[in-house]
């Protein structure tokens, strides 16, 4: 059966009924071009109003000017995804962080073992905190915030770290719960390059050849 359709997500009825918007356009264009595309588009095409607010929130939190670098915010995203064992988000945001740091080895060393990595001690403190927030948020207390302040972080930076970590606790479940599949290494690399340059906002259908490349 050469024409067998391989599902991108668990929920066939959702995949079969994309709602009008940038993501249904992107899926249609990828299908016309016969290129690989991202299963996350299928869930973003489910409720366009949700996708709009999600992308705007993500762009503000992860990409716009902030007291902590977007590289470090993307590292928080990849690290959170690694702790939640969400391979899709971990690969995607390790790729964005690698582009932003210009140092893929550093990013992956943090994901393999934060403590022995070459990351600055101040940044390690922030990732220890977001790690605890991911795995055991109910036990976060004033003392955890004090540790961050002693390490040199101000409250605004801490707000951004909390936001980035919480957002990826959302995305990890959104992606894994819906069964979004991994894409090729090349596709992750291209995504990382695009998000490092342009962020999360998507008002226009993406340039697919740049976006995912051809197999």
């Amino acid at each position: 059966m050469p024409d067998a359709v391989v599902p991108h997500i668990f929920l066939g009825e959702v995949e079969a009924n994309p709602q009008p918007g940038p993501y249904s356009n992107a899926i249609a264009a990828a299908k016309r071009a016969g290129t690989e595309y991202w299963g996350i588009w299928n869930i973003l095409a489910f409720r366009p109003s949700v996708a709009y607010h999600l992308c705007e929130l993500s762009h503000e939190l992860m990409f716009e000017e902030a007291p902590i670098s977007s590289a470090l915010r993307e590292l928080i995203a990849a690290h959170t995804s690694s702790l939640n064992r969400c391979e899709f988000c971990m690969n995607a945001h390790a790729s964005v962080a690698s582009h932003l740091y210009g140092d893929k080895d550093l990013v992956w060393s943090v994901l393999h073992d934060l403590e022995s990595s070459a990351l600055a001690e101040k940044d390690k403190a922030l990732l220890r905190f977001t790690g605890k927030l991911t795995l055991d948020s109910g036990s976060i207390a004033q003392t955890d915030i004090d540790v961050l302040k002693t390490a040199g972080w101000d409250e605004t930076s801490i707000y951004y770290a909390i936001g980035a970590c919480a957002l990826f606790n959302f995305y990890n479940r959104f992606v894994s719960g819906n069964g979004v599949k991994l894409v090729s290494e090349e596709a992750f690399r291209n995504l990382g390059e695009r998000m490092a340059r342009a962020g999360y906002r998507r008002e226009q259908p993406p340039n697919l050849t740049r976006e995912v490349g051809k197999e």
Binding site: F10, L11, H53, L133, Q142, D144, I162, Y171, R173
Partner: protein
């Protein structure tokens, strides 16, 4: 807006400042004009003078507040494939799983307001899914929400099929995954700030006793 108003909640101190244990939130006095506008939008939509603490956490950066309110509006505060009662039941359940007293209270309250029984709420917050107060279809939904909350990378098509067999459509399951993921986010923001429970449920139950 489909949120029923409740007299006691509406009275509950418009000017009462909210303090979080770990980090400062954006109070009415220190809010920027953009945040003041968004707080007013909340009051108008919900008929509640007290702006909830979770909004005051996100208000640390106004665009986050705006889009967080947009997400809650598009996913939670509307009847979709799932109705409000089921959405509130899920929200309270996931919040309890994530040890978020603030959200467990506020969505437990909303579950009661939308017709959930006290017995069902009790079973939901202690994760006693075998309780008679939780019919089998709801049990399947909550069990799936538990897996997504605790171990989402292990979800398989067989898990999804179990929820379908219990009577839920793909669109309902999709909304349920959205909501469970949304609370993975909201609960962590609230727990990081250390927001105390608003005790809305206690006010609600006291009010019910008075009318009994």
């Amino acid at each position: 807006m489909t949120t029923p108003q409740h007299p006691k909640i509406a009275e509950g101190g418009a000017s009462r400042p909210i303090e979080a244990a770990n980090l400062p939130v954006v109070g009415e006095q220190t809010a920027s004009p953009e945040v003041v506008r968004l707080y007013a939008q909340f009051r108008k939509a919900f008929g509640r003078p007290q702006v909830p603490g979770i909004l005051k956490c996100f208000a640390t950066h106004p665009p986050l507040l705006e889009h967080m309110m947009g997400l809650a509006q598009s996913m939670l505060f509307v009847d979709g494939a799932l109705d409000r009662r089921h959405k509130e039941m899920l929200s309270a359940f996931v919040s309890a799983q994530n040890q978020c007293a603030y959200c467990t209270d506020s969505h437990g309250f909303s579950f009661r307001v939308h017709g959930g029984s006290p017995e069902a709420l009790e079973a939901v917050v202690v994760c006693r899914l075998e309780s008679e107060a939780i019919p089998p279809p709801q049990r399947a939904l909550l069990d799936f929400a538990r897996k997504i909350t605790q171990n989402s990378q292990a979800i398989t098509p067989a898990d999804v099929e179990e929820v379908r067999v219990a009577g839920w459509s793909d669109l309902q399951i999709a909304e349920m995954i959205h909501l469970t993921a949304l609370f993975a986010c909201f609960n962590r923001v609230v727990n990081a700030f250390g927001l105390p429970s608003q005790e809305l449920l206690a006010i609600y139950e006291r009010e019910n006793e008075h009318h009994a």
